[in-house]
């Protein structure tokens, strides 16, 4: 259980990271607003509470690994990495610009702290499964976390990877599904219904936990339960696309659109920045 103080600190961190994300997207006038905001509470708990990692040693063999399979939420990842000290916060302003180390989707060869290249949906989970296998082969007591979108579950490769995670008993793997219910073309249930998500993963013999993806205490509990499971865990996290600023919330439009000048001003006010 997280202490009340820890919860408050994480919530404050998530608020600040939302500001970083929106400023970064506004600056580049390109990138994914909705999915970055829906994922940021989950990533805040991972990077600043749950995971064992050290920005001064990005290659530390004993670190936990984070794979952003929904790679378009790269701004959320970059905000976390900058705050954790992997690179200077000023770099965030170069997002998606020519020559920047902050590519439109995560690139392990360019950005310190990025573990694998992702962005083509469905591929990150297979890589996370491979990382978890490598940790077992090498006898490392470390964990692998993979963050997926619910729209991403439409890719068949996700289920191939899930099948392998269960088959190889990868108890060191924890999948989080950021279930915000929206994708580019509209509501996920209208485009291609992926539900029932929890039941599907359970049918693949995964340990399934349902959580509120914006409640850091609920997430903290879920991660703790995943750690002691003897099976790979899937945390099905209910989220709101664009969470934190009502003008962006639950709107498919903000899947891949950056905030305008006016929208940024509103957002900064709401977030108390």
């Amino acid at each position: 259980m997280l202490s009340e103080q820890a919860v408050q600190k994480l919530e404050q961190t998530a608020r600040e990271l939302r500001v970083d994300i929106l400023k970064m997207l506004h600056q580049s006038q390109s990138g994914h607003t909705g999915g970055s905001l829906s994922a940021i509470d989950i990533m805040t708990v991972l990077f600043f509470q749950q995971m064992k990692h050290d920005a001064s040693r990005p290659d530390w063999a004993e670190r936990d690994r984070f794979v952003l399979s929904k790679g378009h939420a790269a701004p959320a990842l970059y905000a976390c990495l900058a705050r954790a000290g992997y690179f200077p916060k000023e770099d965030l302003a170069t997002l998606r610009q020519l020559g920047s180390h902050l590519q439109g989707h995560p690139d392990m060869r360019k950005t310190p702290g990025v573990e694998v290249c992702t962005g083509s949906l469905g591929q990150g989970l297979s890589q996370a499964v491979g990382l978890a296998m490598a940790n077992k082969v090498a006898g490392r007591d470390t964990r692998v976390y993979a963050l997926l979108g619910d729209g991403e579950l439409q890719e068949g490769q996700i289920w191939e990877a899930t099948m392998s995670a269960a088959h190889y008993g990868l108890s060191n793997l924890c999948i989080v599904v950021d279930c915000n219910g929206l994708q580019i073309d509209g509501f996920t249930e209208d485009v291609m219904n992926v539900g029932p998500v929890a039941a599907k993963f359970a049918a693949f013999n995964m340990h399934v936990i349902e959580a509120d993806g914006h409640d850091v205490a609920s997430l903290g509990q879920a991660f703790a339960a995943a750690e002691v499971s003897d099976r790979p865990t899937v945390i099905v996290a209910k989220t709101v696309k664009g969470k934190g600023v009502s003008i962006f919330e639950n709107k498919a439009k903000y899947h891949g659109v950056a905030p305008s000048d006016e929208e940024l001003q509103v957002a900064l006010q709401v977030l108390g920045a």
């Binding site: 392990m108 694998v116 297979s126 499964v129 491979g130 978890a132 082969v137 490769q157 990877a161």
Partner: protein, 311 residues
């Protein structure tokens, strides 16, 4: 005579004994791709992905990110086809240290037919930045190529065959990525072969010698990087080229050689290979004959290209 896939299985096993970082993945074809022996000796370092090639490649990428050296095997048609995008995004783009060993390349897969014969994999793989593409001629060269790939830091695609092929190279031959080999000197025309077609090129050169034509024979076990210098020297010195591959004439060895020649030393070329057609079921030898992948056809092509020689 030994099948290149058999040489692979043996080489992988030996590498596994030497280096604990070597792991093998397969997609339910370990008996055919010859990774099964590795799996038997090192069960903790062998991962069957089941019939899911895309996921196999992704898992291999993750294992490489975790510091291992994965060899992922399946048939060429599935590796370069089904898992193309995974190879692009998860291996080539990040320069992952994964070796894709694609067996059953070309039409000598035989009876399984056109659906299982890969005639485009070299072209597909060659178009990817960061990707190294190898196509050894025989058993000894395959073993050397597998060792070279393991020692190389980056993604490598190695194309092997199903059937037994004649031995061209000595047991202890070396393999250098990016280097071709001159197997026979000649001043009139040059054969450039890859895979099993190199043995046919040697045969064709012998037949031409009986007619008083001196054919040079080059083997390109490394399709990418291509040994451009060796190709251009052959063009300058012999003035005519015949390429030979068990692959489409579009985009593979013939394509690569023509690109190099067009930029460096344009000379007449004949490309022997699959002429933009899919294969069909049949015994391997008969298929090679049917599609003109024979020493006789190479002789004819050489004679034809000589009539076009500018001198």
């Amino acid at each position: 005579m030994i099948a290149t896939r058999d040489a692979y299985g043996q080489a992988l096993l030996e590498l596994g004994r030497q280096n604990p970082k070597i792991v093998a993945l397969d997609a339910d074809l370990s008996g055919s791709t010859k990774t099964a022996q590795f799996g038997k000796e090192f069960p903790e370092r062998f991962f069957n992905a089941g019939i899911a090639e895309a996921n196999m490649v992704g898992m291999a990428a993750g294992m490489a990110a975790g510091g291992l050296i994965p060899f992922a095997s399946t048939f060429a048609v599935f590796a370069a086809g089904r898992a193309f995008e995974q190879i692009r995004q998860s291996l080539a783009y990040p320069r992952m240290n994964v070796k894709v060993v694609a067996t059953h390349g070309g039409i000598t897969v035989g009876e399984d037919g056109g659906s299982h014969q890969s005639i485009e994999d070299l072209a597909i793989m060659r178009s990817l930045p960061n990707m190294t593409v190898l196509c050894p001629a025989d058993g000894p060269e395959t073993a050397a190529a597998i060792r070279a790939a393991a020692a190389f830091d980056g993604p490598v695609y190695i194309r092997l065959g199903r059937g037994k092929v004649p031995v061209v190279f000595p047991q202890d031959c070396a393999f250098e990525i990016g280097r071709g080999v001159t197997l026979r000197e000649g001043k009139d025309v040059t054969f450039i072969g890859t895979g099993l077609m190199t043995a046919m090129a040697l045969e064709a050169a012998q037949a031409l010698a009986d007619k008083g034509i001196e054919a040079r024979v080059l083997h390109m076990g490394s399709i990418k990087p291509l040994d451009t210098e060796l190709v251009l020297n052959a063009a300058r010195e012999t003035g005519a080229i015949v390429t030979a591959e068990e692959h489409s004439v579009i985009g593979g060895l013939g394509g690569a050689v023509c690109e190099a020649l067009a930029e460096g030393c344009p000379v007449p070329v004949e490309r022997v290979g699959m002429r933009d057609v899919f294969g069909q079921s049949g015994p391997a030898g008969k298929l090679l004959e049917h599609y003109g992948l024979t020493a006789d056809k190479l002789v004819e092509s050489a004679e034809r290209v000589l009539t076009r020689k500018i001198r």
